[in-house]
Symmetry: C2
Subunit: 138 residues, 2 copies
Amino acid sequence: MTVRTKYRTKQRKILMEYFEANPQTHMTVKEICDYFRSHDISCGQATVYRQLESLVNDGIIRKYVIDENSPACYEYLGEKEEDHDLTFHCKCEKCGKLIHIQCHRLQDLQQHLKKGHGFTVNPLRTVLYGLCEQCRKQ
Amino acid sequence: MTVRTKYRTKQRKILMEYFEANPQTHMTVKEICDYFRSHDISCGQATVYRQLESLVNDGIIRKYVIDENSPACYEYLGEKEEDHDLTFHCKCEKCGKLIHIQCHRLQDLQQHLKKGHGFTVNPLRTVLYGLCEQCRKQ
DNA sequence: TTGCGTGCAAAGGTTTTGCATGGCA
DNA sequence: TGCCATGCAAAACCTTTGCACGCAA
């Protein structure tokens, strides 16, 4: 926990470049390792985990926990962090699709929960579960 | 998925009684197994997992996934199911406290997400993560 | 009696860790 | 040169699964 990297190693640079090249994309550790392997870049799995933890602590990427039996996802946050605070994630329980929703009503609700109920929602960590349109219609 | 139990076995009864005796409490599989073992009640771990899945599908208990590296938690929902459709759960990321919120703004939001975004939120599965008042003030 | 539930042990999948080696500053 | 990071393999951890046996209806 709260790991911070001091050296700027080759592996860290490569990882960051990979994230920068794939904004708004969810990537698992496996996908990252596969990518590296297929490009003949050496970066062990343990290093990927350790660097990802460090990048999360540095606020450079974001970690998603969709559910406990599938691997965690990581997403590049980029420069402007504000946008990500306004984006909520909705996960369809049936087809597994992940939907990004940016809506002022969600932000209004955040405000209300804070003022009215004393609870500060963290959209980076929160996933709304339910059914997407297609799955509901079935 | 969508496992439903047809028989009313001894193990299922014991599990249900344990939940009924501990409302508004989060319990992990390990805790349940430990409790049973310390009371000399035979109920294998696999059975606990399977019955818990069934009880979740029956709407009798609720499953929480706090994060992928800690075990899932289960909570008794009680008799009156309607209330639970209107109740959202907020979990403090710092102290772990669970807050039940019943608020029309949350229901309004559900309506809006459905009409405006085509996403039907399932409050039984959804947990809003963030900070409670005390922890935020620190 | 029929088939569902149980229990054990093993498998499965993700993440963490120990330790020797390699590389940044 | 002094640490820190890497990489491999093994361990740790939670959950699921296979299969023979037992029990509810």
